[in-house]
Symmetry: C3
Subunit: 362 residues, 3 copies
């Protein structure tokens, strides 16, 4: 279905997640980069819950609630003895599963004393966490980011802590009509913003396909490929894969490549979003390409151009949340046909959150 001409497209009220909708808990979220989790215990907040993260001597990442079950002392302020996490207040000790193995003031180990642990899974440069019902923590549900540890791809990446909600972040990622206005210097071209798109939903996944023929490439792709002087075809897919991840796959097709140059350049953009709470998110991004793997100059260009564009998004989304949270006169935002992919995603987030809360989504 193409729908940019579909002005009459209307949406029902009330069934779309917004900044105040309860967060979806039954999902794998990124807890951090693999390299961030080490023998030095760190504390992070995910979905409103403080978590302590560390690695065992064998290198396995471990996550437990950052709150001792005895007197609520933050366990990340304690220390590791081998694989055991020892609370800094009374020395209560927990093994990697969260089971208490020692309470120094007690002659025996108290039965049934433990701290909640969270399922973790390491995948390439990422460590994923499951904050929801542990019975549902199925490894096969971990989103695919295989290109991040595939030698066929070269990646650069970065991260932000943002005062915005994951709903507006996902909506922003599914929306390319803002490119020429918010990102005029980087990814935006007016032709692209108006190009036809197809949107489809597969289960809880929302996918946009877009193509643009015989058109100049945007700088962020054309400059590293050194084809800014050419008209090319451009195919892209944007995918809301889960509450935790948005991926964008782009192909630039050069029908008349110069000698020794490829006819197709591929880019994979990975956006990883973990709510700290309603109103604050952890955000990691990677920009991967399938050519010029070892070119430090292109790496630097991709990093700088991406950072510039994402900072514009950060600034916009933080400004919007501030308006929404402080304006005393709430409004129902208007919706237009190009907002359909975002609204499909917001409908998914609303339905998932409503199901977890045990009430029927409308």
């Amino acid at each position: 279905m193409t729908y940019t001409d579909d002005i009459a497209f209307t949406f029902e009220r009330g069934a779309y997640a917004d900044h105040s909708t309860p967060l979806v808990r039954n999902a794998w979220y990124v807890a951090g980069l693999a390299k961030e989790i080490s023998r030095d215990i760190i504390a992070r907040r995910f979905l409103g819950v403080d978590v302590a993260l560390y690695r065992t001597l064998a290198g396995e990442p471990i996550a437990v609630r950052n709150r001792c079950p005895h007197r609520s002392f933050p366990l990340a302020k304690g220390r590791l003895e081998g694989d055991t996490l020892v609370c800094g207040y009374h020395g209560m000790a927990f093994d990697p599963s969260g089971r208490c193995t020692n309470m120094p003031s007690m002659p025996i180990v108290p039965a049934n004393a433990n701290v909640r642990s969270f399922p973790l899974a390491e995948r390439g440069p990422l460590v994923w966490i499951w904050m929801g019902n542990p019975d549902l923590a199925d490894d096969s549900l971990i989103p695919d980011t295989s290109w991040l540890n595939d030698p066929a791809w070269a990646s650069v990446g970065g991260s932000f802590a943002m005062d915005c909600d994951y709903v507006s972040m996902h909506e922003n990622l599914l929306d390319q009509t803002h490119f020429p206005f918010l990102h005029p210097g980087t990814v935006g071209t007016v032709a692209y913003a108006r190009s036809k798109l197809k949107v489809r939903q597969e289960g809880n996944v929302v996918i946009i396909d877009r193509s643009l023929k015989n058109s100049p490439p945007p700088g962020i792709y054309g400059i590293p490929a050194k084809i800014m002087h050419k008209d090319v075809d451009r195919l892209s897919e944007a995918r809301f894969a889960s509450p935790a991840i948005h991926t964008a796959f782009a192909q630039i097709i050069d029908h008349a490549p110069d000698d020794g140059k490829p006819s197709v350049y591929r880019f994979n953009i990975t956006h990883l979003i973990t709510p700290e709470s309603n109103g604050r998110i952890h955000y990691w991004w990677f920009n991967s390409r399938d050519f010029a793997h070892d070119d430090a100059e292109i790496n630097q260009f991709m990093y700088d151009a991406s950072t510039k564009a994402y900072l514009e998004d950060v600034d916009a989304l933080e400004a919007i949340l501030k308006v929404v949270q402080t304006d005393i006169e709430p409004q129902f935002d208007l919706n237009f046909a190009p907002d359909k992919p975002g609204l499909m995603m917001r409908s998914v987030l609303y339905k998932l959150a409503a199901e977890e809360a045990g009430y029927a989504s409308l």
Copy 2:
């Protein structure tokens, strides 16, 4: 009616506005100085609502809600194209009336899409805004400040942003019994604080008349008039003209003027108060006189003495609001006879707010 001896004067509970009473919306408030509103869009908060302010190419001041009706982006972060305000997120464009004239991602202009605009009126150095029901925005209700652009008067002025409520600000302005204690170095004399006053109410306007015969003038009037060595008569009117403005008109009468000097010196003090929200106000003041119009030294004196006194008010009113908001043990403030003008004003503010909320004021 004189009432300073009227000790038994009692007041009913509950019908007086305080810091937490809903703000009166159907009134003209100052949005800013005319010179503050330009081709550079600015954002201000009035009565809890964020407003974007700019001028058309022809110089007309424009105010619209600082929140795009599409995705709540603050419009003041956008840009002007001629008289059109263009949102910085998706390029949605609005004419000065707030009507949408373009949505770039759409092939036609969406019907019925607009941003709320607010009536503005420019009067001399001031731009007034109407935040309430636009059907009631009658220009003839704009408070009189004609002396501010009358060549017979010379004015100095300044402004503050204050963490206090407009109720206590208006009450402070109607109360001159605090002068000798809060402003001992400037406007206060004990004799004046105890001078007889008459208070009357005309509709929603509260007016105090006060006179003091054969008494030394206070420094703020006597020094610029150079008559500190004389006893003079002093007539003054203090007027709660609307929730947005308090005016004070003073005459100093010298019955034996020196050669070439006037027998009457007139001063008009203009206090302009616009709530940002309950608990925070914009405050502009002007001190106007009908003599020595071009005397830079007197201008500086008036500015310095006024600023000193108003800073004492700012400090006191902010301290009071902090007590009221943080003390866990609320109190009913005592009322004395000299508080009658303030209570009459608070009764007006309560009644107006109650009427707007659609319930009967007591």
Copy 3:
């Protein structure tokens, strides 16, 4: 009763004070050091109420509510005229009992106008205040701290303002099982943490007795006594004497003293705790000893060692309150047998607060 082996010890839910329990008001609390209260009026918050503190010309300490009964101006911003406190806003004047003696804008003194005053009592270096029902303010209930002004004792002391609640502070003071973990460098020895203790309750007082024979002394006692090379006996009492005070009395017994040295060294530690509100406390401490009264080096050692240990407590208790207040998933803390003294104290605080609120404690 000894109970460290009493694993099966269980506690009922709901009858123990925590950070959100209403504060006990009918108790003498420390308002400040005697030397802090002078002819310069100061403002302090006790139990959520702002208080102005000063001394009369004769030196008597006075406390009144820091809120003028007329327009809520903070009286501590006023000034003293002899023994009279004059409000800085309208000059309303109050004698040390809080009775209004003048309202300048009124021809007579208003009847029945006064500001609430609070009973104070000076005891050695401390001034105590009663914030509750004044009819119950019995001087004989002021906790004993007579050693603080007894020449047989030498004292050092300090103070902190802490973002924690008095419940966790008292629980921390009754709990010595955290010493080896939170204070490994100062007061903690593992042997001591596991030493047998006896706990008893006398009315609303909770008392722990502990003894440890033929064991090395902890540095904080052994170093000033210069007996670190010896094994000694150690007797200690820890006492929750009231919501406002915890005292710890320790004796170090050297059965074979060197020539001219005592066989018993006594230490009294005084912890004075006054809630500013739920979640913030004033905390003063004194460390007193009955030997080497004029030894500046020992004074410095006691001050430094105490400050180091108390800062560790401050850090821990503030971290815990932050977890408790921000974590969206509340927990019921686990209780173990060594927590019994703390839970007895929390039961007392809960019962006292419930009685003051007029409902039956369970």
